[in-house]
């Protein structure tokens, strides 16, 4: 049993609009990230994946607000720490974040090396230019990135290279947990592979202890992640190992999500894609029962009553009152 780097219990966060309405974007998420593992989070747009990622860093800027729950990184509950300590001693050192649009994350008016120096100085105020330069060059070498990037401005780099530079900046201080929020969705397949290879190198070299990888590309997630959690309307509806989820999803939503997989393999051409009808629910008000009930083809009256608790199935968890055998039976008739 390896050490747990990140433990989240019953996290509730919401957005508050200008009209004073609350949008409950993350409600009751619990997850555990073990050292050396990659946890993938899958789901549609607007299901709360990115909000969850932002919430996990313990940073709450309006309109995002924290309600309850605990986030424990390596034994420390970061919700109990004040803002300044969190910023200088946790962010980047314990937990780091890679945003989706690398183009917007780099300062266009500064060279990459200056930008990296800033990051280091927040955490190590006394570091000299030479020290920082040596540290950065060493890291670029380890990650097989060309050194010509360092004196360049962001506009001189390609999209894939910018994304890899942002990853190098985020992980410069060896964070225990790395959150990658759709790092490859703006890239073509070849650059995507380079970015994934770099993330894999980071894990193998021990620069990063564990990773949360957010994407809606299921075939990609299957190869990158060890465990997968499927998110829907602010809740995790199913979690388990990558093989279990991709090859034999239990929850009706995860099952339906697998119908959207497109891969260039023989036989795909004759398959019919199954899109999920309808749109995700409005999270301004919390409906009783299962949140997927309105779009679920197998929903009954029972689904819309009370709260649907998470159920354990070995090490897996899923949020549906039906027995797994009963669900498998239903799917086999499709």
């Amino acid at each position: 049993m390896s050490a747990e780097t990140l433990v989240v219990r019953d996290l509730y966060t919401h957005y508050r609009t200008r009209l004073g309405e609350n949008v409950y974007a993350v409600s009751g998420v619990s997850l555990t990230l073990k050292e050396g593992r990659v946890l993938g989070i899958a789901g549609e747009s607007g299901c709360g994946k990115s909000t969850l990622a932002l919430s996990l860093m313990g940073f709450y800027f309006p309109p995002l607000h924290y309600k309850s729950g605990s986030i424990v990184i390596d034994g420390t509950d970061i919700m109990a720490i004040d803002y300044e300590t969190l910023r200088t001693q946790f962010l980047g050192v314990q937990i780091a974040y890679i945003p989706q649009a690398a183009m917007n994350a780099l300062n266009p008016t500064r060279r990459v090396i200056d930008f990296m120096a800033d990051v280091v100085r927040v955490h190590q105020p006394g570091a000299s230019d030479a020290e920082i330069r040596a540290m950065v060059e060493q890291r670029f070498e380890a990650l097989h990135l060309p050194k010509r990037v360092l004196p360049a401005y962001p506009c001189e780099l390609s999209g894939g290279m910018k994304q890899r530079t942002v990853i190098a900046v985020s992980t410069l201080l060896n964070p225990k947990v790395l959150i990658a929020d759709e790092p490859t969705s703006a890239l073509d397949v070849t650059s995507q592979k380079a970015v994934i290879k770099m993330l894999r190198d980071l894990m193998n070299e021990g620069f990063v202890k564990s990773m949360i990888f957010i994407t809606h590309e299921l075939p990609l997630l299957y190869h990158v992640a060890d465990d997968i959690a499927v998110m829907y309307a602010g809740q995790l509806v199913e979690s388990g190992t990558a093989d279990e989820i991709i090859m034999g999803a239990v929850h009706p939503y995860s099952h339906a999500l697998m119908g959207s997989i497109i891969v260039p393999e023989e036989g795909m051409k004759d398959e019919k894609l199954k899109a999920i009808p309808g749109a995700p629910p409005n999270l301004k008000k919390v409906l009783p029962g299962c949140r997927f009930a309105d779009r679920c083809p197998y929903a009954e009256d029972k689904c819309r009553l009370g709260t649907i608790e998470e159920r354990a199935l070995g090490a897996r968890r899923y949020r549906c009152w039906r027995e797994p055998e009963a669900l498998k039976e239903i799917y086999s008739h499709e």
Binding site: T190, M268, K269, K274
Partner: protein
């Protein structure tokens, strides 16, 4: 497919940027022939010239040399009036649905513009009926949407609204430039199904531009693989994916994560 008539043909089509030493060809003397009722995918990495080709075909970018033939005759776009007439037959969907619409107009007005573009004079009821049928084609509910602004819709909804517009205009050719790269996997399958429906019901020729061979394989009849402005390989979707010949195609195929095969990171 030989009896199908040629809708769009390119002959030694090229476009260069820069002069002298800095001159390079974004599209380098390529030939193509698209037939009626066919979905053609153009696949390549970023910077391979896919979008430049699309822009030339749309008349948004001037060609450096070569010729485009539309419905057998050479394409001549001298004035804005020529362009407008041409765009009644050739339409496009772009990558970013958020910038495809006028943000100040409601959905009703955006759809009503299509009726105006066709030069039809319809009563409000007739126009509504037409818009309603277009929305139901793309599985959207017109009653819920007509009073909304584009920014109130999700990316998937907007892209579907774009297809509803295409449905109303009924062009001969649709250029879809990475229409699914900014929306999630679930709405993506809906969009792909709709493109197939447009082909089957309206006999539309669709040029589908993507970097994902999986999508190209699923949706298209034939595939062109492009790299550095040149066409590396062409063939039916099955030929290209199941028996790729060129090394570039093979490497492109290896870069896509698959389910039943190990993904070698190298």
């Amino acid at each position: 497919m030989n009896e199908a008539k040629s809708v769009l043909r390119g002959q030694a089509l090229s476009r260069s940027f820069g002069f002298g030493k800095a001159k390079f060809y974004a599209v380098d003397h390529i030939d193509f022939d698209f037939h009626e009722g066919e979905i053609i995918s153009i696949v390549g990495t970023s910077g391979s010239g896919k979008t430049t080709l699309a822009k030339m075909v749309l008349g948004l970018l001037k060609k450096s040399s070569g010729e485009i033939y539309y419905m057998g005759g050479p394409l001549v776009l001298r004035s804005h009036r020529d362009m407008k007439a041409y765009w009644n037959h050739v339409q496009a969907i772009f990558q970013d649905p958020f910038s495809s619409f006028n943000q100040f107009h409601k959905v009703e007005k955006l759809l009503a513009d299509c009726i105006e573009m066709q030069g039809l004079k319809l009563s409000r009821e007739e126009a509504f009926a037409k818009m309603r049928s277009a929305c139901s084609f793309v599985n959207l509910k017109f009653e819920e949407l007509y009073n909304k602004y584009p920014f109130e819709l999700s990316g998937g909804q907007m892209q579907r609204l774009m297809i509803a517009r295409i449905f109303m205009l009924g062009p001969d050719i649709l250029i879809a430039d990475e229409p699914t790269s900014m929306i999630d996997a679930c709405s993506r399958s809906t969009i792909l199904e709709m493109l197939l429906k447009l082909r089957d019901e309206k006999r539309m020729t669709i040029v589908f531009i993507t970097h994902d061979l999986g999508l190209a394989y699923y949706v298209s009849d034939s595939i062109l693989i492009m790299n550095a402005g040149k066409i590396i390989e062409r063939g039916t979707a099955r030929e290209i994916i199941e028996h790729p010949q060129a090394d570039y195609t093979k490497s492109l195929l290896a870069d896509v994560p698959k389910l039943n095969e190990e993904w070698k990171l190298g």
